[in-house]
Amino acid sequence: MTTRIERHRYDVVVIGAGGAGLRAAIEARSAGKKTAIISKSLFGKAHTVMAEGGAAAAMGNVNSRDNWMVHFRDTMRGGKFLNNFRMAELHAKEAPSRIWELETYGALFDRTKDGRISQRNFGGHEYPRLAHVGDRTGLEMIRTLQQRIVALQQEDFRESGDYDARIRVFSETTITELMLDGDRVAGAFGYYRESGELVLFEAPAVVLATGGVGKSYKVTSNSWEYTGDGHALALRAGATLINMEFLQFHPTGMVWPPSVKGILVTESVRGDGGVLKNSEGNRFMFGYVPDVFRKQYAETEEEADRWYTDPDNNRRPPELLPRDEVARAINTEVKEGRGTPAGGVYLDVSTRMPAETIRRRLPSMYHQFKELADVDITAQPMEVGPTCHYVMGGVEVDPDTTAALGGVRGLFAAGEVSGGMHGSNRLGGNSLSDLLVFGKRAGEHAAAYCDSVARPRVPTKDLELAVATALGPLERSGGDNPYHLQQELQVVMGDLVGIIRREAELSEALKRLHELRARVANVSASGGRRYNPGWHLALDLRNMLVVSECTALAALERAESRGGHTREDFPAMDPEWRRINLICALDGDEVRLTRKPLPRMRPELLALFERGEMSKYLTDEELAEFDALPEA
Amino acid sequence: MTTATRPGRAAITARTLRTDRWWFAPLVTFVGLGAWVTYATVRVFMHGNYWVEQYHYLTPFYSPCVTERCVEAAAHLGRFLPGWWIVPDAALTLPFLLLFRLTCYYYRKAYYRAFWLSPPACAVPDGHKRYTGETRFPLVFQNVHRYAFYAAAVISVINTYDAALAQATGLGLGNVILWVNVVALWAYTLSCHSCRHIAGGRLKHFSKHPVRYRFWTFVSKLNVRHMQLAWVTLGTLALTDAYIMALAAGWFSDLRIIN
C-alpha cells in the first residue's frame, strides 16, 4: 500500500464539531477566514447532543435579581475557588449574549409567560438560570449551530456557487497529530474514518474542541468519542494541561443492564423519597454521615422518613448528603462486597410510594427505566453506582484569547477540552454556556492570529512520522487486541484512580499504566483501512493512556480532597493547596508535573464574597489581605 | 425489487427481511374496504327500501333523494333528476361523499397501501416501477380535499336534519341508530385534517387568536382518532342503512321505546 495524502489548505482548522467547535467555526468564518470543521462522528452527533438540563446564563428572565456577579459567585463556589477567576468572570458576563445569539440562529427555548426565555433551577445556582428546552437542551444547541453553519454555507453558495467555499465540514475524520513548524502550529494530520485515507490540513491556527476523556473509565456517561484526543494532541504539540485530577462523578448512574451502564439517574429520585440499600437490605447511608454534617442529618430511619412530610421539625435523610459523600459511600459498600451483582447498590422508590405517585412525580425516570432497561421502578429497585461524567481539567489556556499556554503558538482550545474555568467542580449547566462563550472567543482569536503570522510549513519528516504512527497498528501483527487493552485501561482507571483515591492505589495505577504503555505502542489491528473500528480504537488508545497518566500523576500529587478529587488519606480541603494548580507537560515520552500558583483574583471580584464564606477557603495570609480590602 | 441490483447499495437479495406479519394490516384493509364498497354499490343501485314511512327513517345513502323515483317525504330538495337506473337517488350528495372519502388523508394512506401496494407496508418494496406520487394528473387532484370537506360538512347537516325529522315520530331503536351515525359522522368530519388546518393550523401565532387556538386544540384531539373514526363511520353508515333497509323491506319491525 503506497502512502498517499490528501492535502487541504485552510486558515483556521477547528477540531471538534460539538458546541464549542461549531461556535468557534461560525466566528472564524464570520471573520472572513477559510474554515474547516473536523469531527470524528457525523455532523451534529457530537457529545453535546446528550446534554439535558440546560445552559446557564444570568439573563434574569425569571428572577430579575440575577446578574453576572451572582453567577460568577456561584461558579467560583461550585469550583471550590480553584477556578481561573478571569474565565469564570468572562463566562458569567458573556453567557447571556451568547444564548440570545442562538435565538437569532433559530433556537426555540422554552418560554416564560411574557415571551422571554424560560430559566430553570439547578443545583448550585442561586436563581433559576438554565435556559432549556425540555430535557434536550444540548440537542437544541447543536442543531441550532449546525443549521447556522448551513445558513452560512448557503450565503457562500449565493455568492460563489460553492457551498464549501469558506466553511467546510469534514465529518468522520479523526485527527491523530498536530503538525508544527518550529513552535508554531502548521496543521493537523489525520484520516477519514470512512475510507481510511490519510489527510493533511495545512493551517496557521488550530482550535481544539474535542471534549472530554470519560471513555478511560468503565462506567461513564460519555461516548466512544471521549478518548481525550484533544488533551493528548495539545500535550504532544507542547502545550500544557491543568487540573487533570478533577473528574466529576455522578453518584447515581445506572449500572444495570449493561447496555445502559453509566446513564444518569436524576438526583430528584432521592429527593422524592428514594432510599439506597445494599445487597443485605440495609439503608447503609446512616453509617456514612461525616461529623461535620451530623447535626443536619437524621440518625434513625423513622426520623428520616418523617422529613419528607415535615422537613421543618426533622433532619434530612442521609441519602441527601452531597454528591461526593454519597458516591463515596456507594463505592465503599461495593468494595466491601455488599454490592449488587452488577456492582452497584439498590435505589428503591417502589416500596416508598404508591405506583401512581411515582409515575406522576418521576415520569422521565419511569420511562427511562421502562424503555432502556425494562425495569418497572414502581415494582423493582433500580441498580445504581457512580458514573464518570465530566473532566474539569484540560488544556491550560489564556482566559481572554483561549490560546494554549506552554511552548506552542497558534493553538486554541475551548469547551470541555480546556481547563481552568470550572475549578475543581463544574456546576450543572455551566458547560453548555462555557462552550458558547469560549467557543466564540477561540474562533475570534484564532482568526486574528492568522492575520499576524506568515503561513507555516509542514515539515516532511514530521509528516512521515505521523503517517507511520497512524498506519502502525495495521502493519504490525501479533500485538494486543485494542478492545482488550481498552478494557484493561478502564479497569485500572476505574478501580485505582476512581472516585475515592488512595496513595498506594495511585502509585499502583501509575505502574500499571506504564506497563500498558509498552503494549499500547505495540497494539495491532486486523482488517483493512475502510471504516475499521478496531484500528480507530488502537489509535485512540495512546491518547487515553497519556491523559490517564496525567490524571493519575496529578491525583497522586494533590494531597487534599476538593471537588472532583477525593483522597481517602487526605479527606479535608487544604487552603494551601487552593493556591496551587498542577500542570502536566510532556517531556519526550514522559509526563512531567509542575506546580504553578493560581492567579490572584482582582480585588473588586474578591469583594463580591463574604468573609465568613471565604474563611473556609483562604489561608490566614490571604484572609488578612481580604480584610485589608477597601470597603466596596 | 431487491437492493441487490442497485449499484452502491447494500447487496441484500431478500425483498424484505421483516419477520412479523406485515401483510396482515393491508389485507384487513383490503377486505374491509372491498366489502364495504361492494355493499354500498349494491345498495345505491337497488333504488328501494330506503324509507320507513311509519317512523320517517331515511337512510343516509339516499339523502336527500332527488330523482323522480323518490318518495315525496324523502326529497328535501325536490325531485329534479330523471329516474334512470344509472342515476343514484342521492346524486347530489353521493359524489361529494365519495370524493371526500377518496381524498381523505387517511383513506389515501389505506388504499395506497392495501390496493396500490405503494408501499404495502413499511420497508416492504413498492409494487411499481415508476413513482411520481401526487405530483401529476390524476393524483394531483387529491389536493381538492379541502373542498370536499366543505361539501361533507353541509351533507352532515342534512343527515342531522334527517335524524331530527325521524325524531318527531317518537323514539325507537332506529332513532338511536340514526343519531349514533350522525354523531360519528360529525366526529369524523370535524377530525378531518383540512378542518384542523382551517380551524387554526394555518395560523402562525396561536397566541393572537385564542378562540381559534382552542378550536384547533379540540380538532387536534379528534384528529388523532381520525383513522378509528373513518372505520367507525363506515360501520355506522352500513349498519344504519342495513337496519332501515330491513325495516323498509319488512324483515322485522322497529324496536320502539316511546310510541
Partner: protein, 334 residues
C-alpha cells in the same frame, strides 16, 4: 449467565456482501448494539457500525433489524424470542460504505438545500419574544435526532432511486414545517418551495416515516399534511387562482435570483444569441473525485515556488467554455 443466540449480520461493501451467521452470547437486559459491540470485541474486530450515545439521543446507530429500520441502541434483545435469529442489515436506501455503515451524505445535501431560518431584521438578540403556545409546534420537530430512519424507510426514494434528486424526504419536510410555523421566521415562500423544490407532492402520506421515528414525531399528521394544506391555500384554492387570473399576477415575470437560493431561473437564449445563463463550472474548485475528496498527491509533494495569484487550485488556461466571452464574429446580427 448469558445464552448463545443466533444472529445474521450483513457484511460487505459497495462491491458486494452477504449475510453472515454468528453465535453471540446475550445477557439479560442487553440491546442489539451491545451484541454488535460484543461481536467487535470477540469475533470481528473490524465490523463497522456507527454509534455514539447509546441512549437514543444522537441518532447514529440506525440499522435495519429483522427488516425494520430501527436504532440499535433502543432495540432490546428481550423483544425477540430466545430461538429467533436476529437479522441485522445496513440501511438499504443509502449507498453502503462497509458492513452496517452507510453513506448518509444525501441527507446533508438536502439539508443544505433547505432554506435556513431567516430572522426578522428589526430585532436585536435578546429582544425576541415568543409565546410558548406559538413555539410548541416547531419544538416537536426540533426533537429530531437526525437518525434518518424516516428517510430510509420512505418508499419514494427507497424503492425509486431516480426520485432522489427531486425529493428531500420527511426529515426535511418537518424542517420546512418547523420554520413555516416558527413565530419569527420571515421567509414567506416556504410552502411554495416545499412543493416546487422539495418534492412535497411526491409523498403519498403512507405514514411509514411516522411509524419508524424513534422520537415519535408525528411527521405526517403534524408536518406533512399541514404543509400540504398550506400549499393548497396558495396553489389550489380556486379563489386565489381566480384572483391571479383576473389580476394577471402570474404573468408578471419574476426576474432576478430565486429569493430562496439565489439561482437564476433558466431562460432559453434567442436564436444565435449566446447563452449567458448557461451553467458553467463556476469557480474552479479543486478537482474533487467521485468520492468528493481531493485527488491524492504523493507524500513528498510540496508546493513549488510562490503561490499563484489566481489561487493554488486554478489551472491555466481556464476551459474556454467557462469564459463569458462572445466573439463578435459569431454574432448573426453583425
Amino acid at each position: 449467565m448469558g445464552t448463545k443466540r443466533n444472529f445474521r449480520v450483513w457484511r460487505g461493501d459497495a462491491g458486494g456482501g452477504e449475510l453472515q451467521d454468528f453465535q453471540v452470547e446475550v445477557n439479560e437486559g442487553e440491546v442489539v448494539l451491545d451484541i454488535i459491540h460484543r461481536l467487535q470485541a470477540t469475533q470481528t474486530p473490524d465490523l463497522a457500525c456507527r454509534w455514539n450515545c447509546k441512549a437514543g439521543k444522537c441518532g447514529s446507530c440506525s440499522m435495519e433489524i429483522n427488516g425494520m429500520p430501527r436504532l440499535g441502541c433502543m432495540t432490546r434483545m428481550s423483544t425477540f424470542t430466545a430461538d429467533e435469529t436476529v437479522t441485522i442489515t445496513p440501511l438499504r436506501t443509502f449507498p453502503v460504505i462497509r458492513d452496517l455503515v452507510t453513506d448518509v451524505s444525501f441527507n446533508y445535501r438536502k439539508a443544505r438545500e433547505t432554506p435556513a431560518f431567516t430572522p426578522p431584521a428589526d430585532l436585536a438578540p435578546g429582544e425576541y419574544r415568543m409565546q410558548q403556545v406559538d413555539v410548541e409546534r416547531s419544538q416537536e420537530f426540533r426533537k429530531c435526532i437526525e437518525c434518518y430512519l424516516c428517510q430510509n424507510t420512505c418508499h419514494v426514494i427507497r424503492d425509486h432511486e431516480e426520485n432522489k434528486p427531486p425529493f428531500s424526504g420527511p426529515r426535511f419536510f418537518i424542517r420546512a414545517a418547523e420554520l413555516d410555523m416558527h413565530p419569527l421566521d420571515t421567509l414567506e415562500d416556504r410552502k411554495e418551495y416545499a412543493q416546487a423544490s422539495m418534492g412535497l407532492g411526491m409523498c403519498n402520506i403512507t405514514k411509514c416515516c411516522t411509524e419508524v421515528c424513534p422520537e415519535h414525531i408525528k411527521i405526517t399528521d403534524n408536518a406533512i399534511i399541514p404543509m400540504k394544506e398550506r400549499v393548497v391555500d396558495r396553489r389550489y384554492d380556486p379563489l386565489v387562482w381566480l384572483g391571479r387570473k383576473i389580476f394577471r399576477r402570474d404573468q408578471l415575470p419574476s426576474p432576478g435570483p430565486d429569493p430562496l437560493l439565489g439561482v437564476l431561473p433558466p431562460r432559453e437564449p434567442a436564436e444565435g444569441e449566446p447563452d449567458w445563463q448557461r451553467r458553467h463550472h463556476g469557480a474552479q474548485g479543486p478537482a474533487v473525485g467521485d468520492d468528493g475528496h481531493l485527488p491524492i498527491t504523493e507524500l513528498t509533494f510540496e508546493n513549488q515556488g510562490a503561490g499563484s495569484p489566481f489561487g493554488d487550485d486554478v489551472t491555466l488556461p481556464l476551459p474556454a467554455e467557462d469564459l463569458n466571452y462572445h466573439h463578435p464574429r459569431d454574432d448573426p446580427r453583425r
